[in-house]
């Protein structure tokens, strides 16, 4: 059935779910795509690969690494073979994420107000109070429409059983959505006509939905409230994304120094004097937002912003203090939260997680460390992580010592085998591990998730780490329409 040499040379790996192949035949969702490319000469794929690289470079879709005074342009590696998801599977993912977000949002409201979930004994109070992202400053602060998690990027992986598992809920300032948009626009140029033929669901509505949600949060009863995107500035590695989103939404891209607080209202400095700001989509972390309340040495934020927020004079997106809900140690309580707040069974599975503050579990994890992933609870980007199967004895020993000193800051999980998918690397198709990060938007009118998301790829052979800071890349993610297989 498969004749193309590129495809026949591809080796499926044992005990790993392959997104495209199943026992040497092609999964139904990929059939249209494969039939479109299998007759192409091999040079054509190489040409497409080169075209993609050029398009990223010429459109300035780059991040800049500053070393020795000179900025070096790098592109976020992009693989030209899309990752394809069936419609029914997507509906499952969508329902699962919506359910999870509702519960997490209720949890945040509860934890910063009455704390029923602690009083009812579902989550140990010590766990919450020992979380560095739990902001006492947010206690009894009423946020607009009771929404905390306006933008979430939930990381999903597919285990060898073919099921999707939630790996992380990123509820603070998840990034990468601009790559979802760019990947799609590049793919449409690489494979003309293939998107409509496959009924691939569009993702372009994301900026529109986000803008609508941001406008809905303004509370000044005027027709054109001022919405801004607060960025740390051009030296931030995600600056491209900040600029892109601001441009696509037509809102002002500001830095901390552009804003000033007067009498508990936030203003921006313009050529025509001060102008009041109603909604701030911030891409600056909590601790840098307001030097009067959080880190006093931060120049990225605005003095007095917290007080203006607390008074309800400005809306901040996402809310402050969300880190307590996506803390890796709180993660294992999310299924409980879903049952507690929604009285529903969780739709998406979660990875078994062992708290290292529990002496028995700690002992177990120490003994079986080679089969575990150890993570620091408040780190992200693939930092502070140990994958037992590929760690040296010395690395494991270092982690054991660190855990013993500060057990609350670590969790252990069994190694989950991420699914793999073919990537076009060095002229051949090779299996690489992937995850999936759909972006959910929670606004006063409900939760919207654009079909798709960012598929991140671990480009190193055999690696399980997909983070861009650790040599990861990305792929376009196609969600097929209801009439396709």
């Amino acid at each position: 059935m498969i004749e193309n040499s590129l495809l026949t040379a591809y080796q499926e790996q044992p005990n790993i779910w392959d997104e495209m192949f199943h026992q040497n035949s092609i999964r139904p969702e990929y059939r249209n795509f494969v039939s479109a490319i299998e007759n192409l000469p091999n040079t054509e794929l190489a040409r497409k690969d080169e075209l993609a690289r050029k398009l990223f470079m010429s459109q300035g879709v780059t991040f800049t690494v500053y070393s020795s005074g000179e900025g070096i342009e790098k592109i976020f590696p992009f693989d030209i073979i899309p990752r394809i998801i069936q419609h029914a599977e997507w509906l499952h993912i969508e329902a699962g994420i919506k359910q999870r977000l509702k519960a997490l949002n209720l949890f945040l409201k509860d934890i910063y107000h009455e704390q029923f979930i602690l009083k009812d004994g579902l989550i140990p109070a010590a766990l919450i109070y020992s979380c560095p992202q739990f902001l006492r400053e947010m206690m009894n602060v009423n946020v607009p429409h009771d929404i905390y998690t306006h933008i979430a990027g939930v990381d999903l992986i597919r285990n060898s059983d073919g099921e999707f598992y939630v790996l992380e809920d990123n509820l603070r300032t998840p990034s990468g959505v601009s790559y979802m948009l760019e990947n799609r626009s590049i793919t449409s140029r690489l494979y003309p006509d293939l998107l409509p033929k496959n009924q691939v669901q569009p993702v372009r509505k994301y900026p529109e939905l986000l803008f609508r949600n941001l406008m809905d949060l303004a509370d000044r009863h005027i027709s054109a409230p001022t919405v801004v995107l607060l960025s740390p500035g051009i030296y931030n590695s995600a600056y491209y994304e900040h600029a892109t989103l601001a441009r696509l939404m037509g809102i002002e891209l500001v830095q901390g120094s552009d804003l000033v607080v007067n009498n508990h209202y936030v203003f921006m400095k313009t050529t025509k004097g001060l102008k009041q700001v109603d909604v701030i989509y911030r891409r600056v972390d909590d601790e840098f937002l307001d030097p009067l309340v959080f880190r006093p040495d931060s120049a990225l934020g605005v003095p007095g912003m917290y007080a203006a927020y607390r008074k309800g004079n400005v809306a901040i997106v996402n809310a402050m203090g969300n880190g307590v809900a996506d803390d890796k140690a709180v993660y294992c309580y999310v299924p409980e939260m879903i049952r507690y707040y929604l009285n529903e069974e969780p739709i998406l599975k979660t990875v078994p997680t062992y708290q290292m503050s529990d002496p028995d579990l700690r002992k177990m994890a120490f003994e079986r460390m080679d089969k575990m992933v150890i993570k620091k609870t408040n780190e992200s980007g693939g930092y502070g992580m140990l994958i037992g199967s590929s760690a040296t004895e010395q690395q494991m020993q270092e982690f054991r010592e660190a855990i013993t000193q500060d057990p609350r800051s670590f969790i252990a999980q069994p190694i989950i085998s991420l699914s793999s998918t073919p990537c076009y690397l060095n002229g051949v198709l090779q299996p690489r591990r992937v995850d999936l990060r759909p972006y959910a938007l929670y606004g006063p009118r409900g939760i919207d998730i654009v079909p798709g998301g960012l598929t991140r790829v671990a480009l190193q052979e055999g690696s399980l780490v997909v983070n861009s800071s650790q040599g990861g890349g990305s792929k376009d993610t196609w969600v097929l329409g209801p009439d396709t297989h």
């Binding site: 010429s58 459109q59 300035g60 051009i234 600029a243 002002e252 891209l253 830095q255 400095k269 050529t271």
Partner: protein, 312 residues
């Protein structure tokens, strides 16, 4: 518009006009160097674009054309090189991507990549420098076209033009002052050529000049042309006129008192230039006039910074 954004756009335009002006000056100078290689020196350009060079370094370099081109066009360590001008313009564009069009950003991005590495630098170093410089200037022209054709006529367009025209007026004033020293140094009967030609050439004015004065290069006409010709886009008169026109259009987006201050400064300078009695016969007085004009232009820039661009 945010003051920071206005400032960034304004400087983006200044850097781009500066790049274009210096490339044209370098181009003319290079051609001149090929005309009379024996007595030729790059000294004046090394002072303007060479960065912080000591007298000895200038002396060692001034007759070594490849080294000079490397230093003033491509050198990454020379803050006043064309490379760094383009780099600054692009960094500024990157910071205000949401206020310029994609086309403008793409132009600047490809200009930066073109001057950084690849064919053009090779051409300047080892091939025909003129072709290399021309290729760079073409990038600059594409930028101007992209601005003209795609930018909405809003505040950002206004600040782009203010930056461009202010920089151009400064460049014209400086080029005239520096090059006039060469002109004035020549004994009287020989003043016609070739320095006057180079002067007009280095402001891209040769064609219009030839048409206007039928090829008669004399100091009075050249001075008249560079200071007062209404059709010459680099003349002081033209720069200041358009500066005041674009500034007037910002009125509705300004605080009244800020606008008044700037309007006064620009109007006063335009009239000083219009009614000056500086003439080719009195180089001393001309020099003072040009220094004075320069000071006034900088005053305008400072006032703009204070009143519009959030500088204190």
């Amino acid at each position: 518009m945010l003051s920071r954004v206005a400032d960034t756009i304004y400087w983006l335009a200044r850097y781009m006009d500066r790049t274009q002006a210096m490339l044209q000056v370098i181009r003319t100078h290079y051609q001149a160097s090929q005309d009379s290689p024996s007595e030729f020196s790059w000294r004046s350009l090394l002072y303007s674009y060479g960065g912080s060079l000591t007298l000895e370094e200038v002396g060692a370099m001034e007759r070594d054309t490849p080294r000079v081109l490397e230093r003033i066009i491509l050198d990454k360590d020379n803050p006043t090189s064309a490379y760094n001008s383009v780099l600054q313009a692009r960094e500024n564009a990157r910071a205000v991507q949401d206020h310029i069009t994609q086309e403008v950003w793409h132009c600047l991005n490809s200009f930066y990549h073109a001057i950084r590495e690849g064919e053009i630098p090779e051409q300047i170093r080892f091939g025909d420098p003129l072709s290399g410089i021309d290729a760079l200037m073409r990038h600059g022209l594409v930028f101007i076209g992209a601005v003209q054709n795609t930018m909405p006529r809003d505040e950002s367009y206004g600040y782009l033009n203010l930056g461009k025209l202010l920089e151009r007026a400064l460049q014209t004033t400086d080029t005239l002052r520096v090059q006039w020293l060469n002109v004035a140094a020549q004994p009287l009967p020989e003043r016609e050529v070739p320095q006057l030609r180079y002067l007009v050439h280095s402001m891209s004015g040769q064609e219009l000049y030839l048409k206007t004065y039928r090829g008669n290069f004399n100091p009075d006409s050249v001075l008249q042309f560079v200071l007062h010709n209404a059709y010459f886009t680099h003349s002081l008169h033209s720069c200041l006129n358009r500066l005041s026109w674009y500034f007037e259009r910002l009125k509705s987006d300004s605080l009244p008192e800020s606008h008044q201050k700037l309007e006064f400064l620009i109007g006063r300078l335009a009239n000083q230039v219009k009614y000056t009695d500086a003439s080719a016969r009195n180089p001393q007085q001309l020099n003072e006039f040009l220094l004075d004009t320069r000071k006034e232009l900088l005053n305008i820039a400072v006032a703009l910074g204070k009143n519009y661009l959030g500088k204190s």
